[in-house]
């Protein structure tokens, strides 16, 4: 499992406050704790509060990468913000860009911009099964967009093993969204068959449980289900120990990690080994 630690995100109050006060201590602490918990990448997202997004992502990148050797996942829907993050980023340790849809009404060629940045940094890219019409609700359109993403990325020189497809999870309690988890699993099955090696499958897991009760339980359960269908990455709260225990157990049950009596501990000490740029 390529676990992407979600916590350095301006949507969280502690990070938002740290950004406002330019206080590196909370960022350093989150970077260290997530790295120790086995994150393969640390997501870096400035959130919505900062006025200067480019300056803020640079500061977050510099602060996090000085604290730990873990590579970063630069997270913004704005290519210019990603570019600013990349300018400060030590890409020699690997980098993941998060994320581009197939196209946007306002920017039909957005995918090419992201691929170009990923290629010149020698990194990988998360692409969303989403286009100018928004997030598809059915299986077929998700799969169709994934195929277009894969083809377009290959045309632009990004190999499937450097592409992470995110089938987009919506909160399960949104009206009409309760069929989506099953649809996503069915879509993953088909996306994994598109190439050999297949593209990675990732997802912003915590989104699934937004606004629900039993958030952790919902996240943990769905992650196990998604992994059994071939999801090999997720943007998660790696500080949720039972969640990481579930990842370790699923990997062991799927014969991806050799069992030992200390397999939970062993998983944490070897996490990150499956990164494509390692």
């Amino acid at each position: 499992m390529i676990a992407i630690g979600e916590r350095i995100n301006g949507m969280f109050t502690d990070v938002k406050d740290a950004i406002a006060a330019k206080d590196p201590a909370p960022i350093v602490s989150l970077a260290k704790r997530q790295a120790a918990a086995g994150a393969a990448y640390l997501d870096i997202n400035v959130g919505t509060a900062a006025a200067d997004q480019a300056g803020t992502i640079k500061w977050l990148v510099e602060t996090a990468q000085a604290a730990v050797p873990t590579p970063l996942c630069l997270d913004s829907q704005k290519p210019d913000v990603i570019r600013a993050g990349l300018s400060a980023c030590d890409t020699s340790r690997g980098v993941l860009l998060n994320s581009s849809p197939l196209n946007k009404k306002s920017d039909p060629d957005v995918l090419a911009r992201y691929v170009e940045m990923a290629n010149s940094a020698g990194g990988s890219l998360i692409a969303l099964t989403m286009d100018r019409e928004g997030v598809p609700q059915n299986i077929d359109r998700r799969v169709e967009i994934a195929a277009e993403l894969l083809t377009r990325c290959m045309e632009l020189g990004l190999a499937p093993d450097r592409l992470f497809i995110d089938p987009i999870i919506l909160p399960v309690n949104v009206p009409g969204a309760q069929a989506q988890p099953t649809n996503i699993l069915a879509a993953i099955d088909q996306i994994r068959l598109m190439s050999d090696p297949p593209p990675h499958i990732t997802m912003g897991l915590s989104n699934l449980s937004q606004g629900t009760t039993e958030r952790s339980l919902i996240n943990r359960t769905f992650l196990a289900m998604a992994m059994s269908h071939g999801a090999d990455s997720a943007i998660i709260d790696v500080l949720d120990e039972p969640l990481v225990d579930i990842v370790a157990t699923v990997e062991m049950l799927m014969n991806k990690q050799i069992y030992s009596d200390s397999f939970l501990k062993a998983y944490r000490s070897t996490a990150g080994g499956q990164r494509p740029d390692k």
């Binding site: 990690q257 050799i258 200390s262 062993a266 070897t270 080994g273 499956q274 990164r275």
Partner: protein, 317 residues
């Protein structure tokens, strides 16, 4: 549509480890594989495998004539034996095996073990493997003294197991030696021993894995498939499995009746002088292909065959 080149590659690499130091004239470095054995790129296959020739601390009781005769009169003198193993038979290392400590095989004491260790250290310039008797109680009492006697030599000390690892691990840490982690043909236990030993602060980079070896006709394919899976896990990025591997081919091969039966006992099996060495060489060559880094061997004729095989694939020394 132009397609980007996709290269099959592994993310992991087997640790490199150097045996020998101090008064050793030679050191031996093993490991470093970044691909499966013979998996294409020569540079990625890592260091060439090495042969350690067994020397016993006391005269062997149960060796068949075809094996004992190959050593002439040196079997009662470990120093002369070690010298012969290196100078005449070309061993890359000497594995000094303390069978005589075992309560069933002489029950010799620490003074004997230390004296033999010192003599063998003085007799040869190659790095040493110092391997206990397999009796936990006796080894815990004696091997720390053996380790102390070899301090500074950076020897490979064996073996630690899931149920008996604390004493020897602490000793190896104190004397700055390397360790062999043993598992009973069980990949899960192998991983667990590695975790237990590294939890004591012993670096994984100084550890070698050992699965009790199966010889031709007696579980060789089982040892092969376990070691192959260990190596694939290592190359897949599991750093708890990314350790060089040692096999005990000599002892296991010469337990097989097909190896040790004389021509008069089994005339239908062909020339006894060739059969035993071939049994040992066949086992070694097969297991080398699972990614083994160090083979323990006994018969010089088998050693010669295996060395020629290694040279043909890795280039000669």
């Amino acid at each position: 549509m132009p397609l980007p080149a996709i290269q099959e590659s592994y993310s992991g690499r087997v640790n490199e480890l150097t045996i020998g130091g101090g008064a050793r004239k030679k050191t031996v470095t093993v490991g470093g594989a970044k691909t499966i054995p013979y998996g294409g790129d020569r540079a990625a296959t890592g260091r060439r495998p090495v042969i350690a020739i067994d020397v016993l601390d006391s005269p062997p009781q149960d060796w068949p004539a075809v094996l004992a005769d190959a050593y002439g009169g040196v079997l009662a003198d470990p120093a002369a034996w070690a010298k012969k193993a290196v100078d005449e038979f070309g061993g890359d290392l000497v594995c000094l095996k303390f069978d005589g400590l075992h309560p069933d095989k002489g029950n010799l004491g620490a003074d004997h073990a230390v004296a033999v260790t010192q003599k063998v250290i003085g007799a040869v310039g190659v790095p040493l493997i110092l391997w206990g008797s397999g009796n936990d109680e006796k080894d815990n009492a004696v091997m720390p003294k053996v380790s102390q006697a070899a301090k500074g030599e950076r020897v490979l000390l064996g073996t630690v197991t899931q149920d008996n690892y604390k004493s020897l691990t602490a000793t190896a840490l104190a004397d700055q030696h390397l360790l062999i982690a043993q598992a009973p043909l069980d990949i899960n236990i192998a991983k667990q021993v590695n975790i237990l030993v590294s939890d004591m602060g012993f670096p994984l980079e100084s550890l070698v894995m050992f699965q009790t070896t199966g010889t031709l006709g007696y579980g060789m394919e089982y040892a092969y498939s376990i070691q192959e899976r260990e190596r694939l896990a290592a190359l897949g990025g599991d750093r708890l499995m990314a350790l060089p591997v040692i096999c005990d081919v000599g002892y296991e091969s010469w337990r097989a009746k097909e190896a040790k039966a004389s021509a008069s006992e089994a005339p239908q099996w062909g020339d006894g002088a060739k059969r035993g060495p071939l049994w040992e060489a066949t086992t070694a060559v097969a297991l080398l292909q699972s990614g083994v880094d160090i083979v323990r061997m006994r018969h010089p004729a088998a050693v010669a065959i295996v060395r020629e095989y290694i040279n043909s694939l890795w280039g000669s020394d």
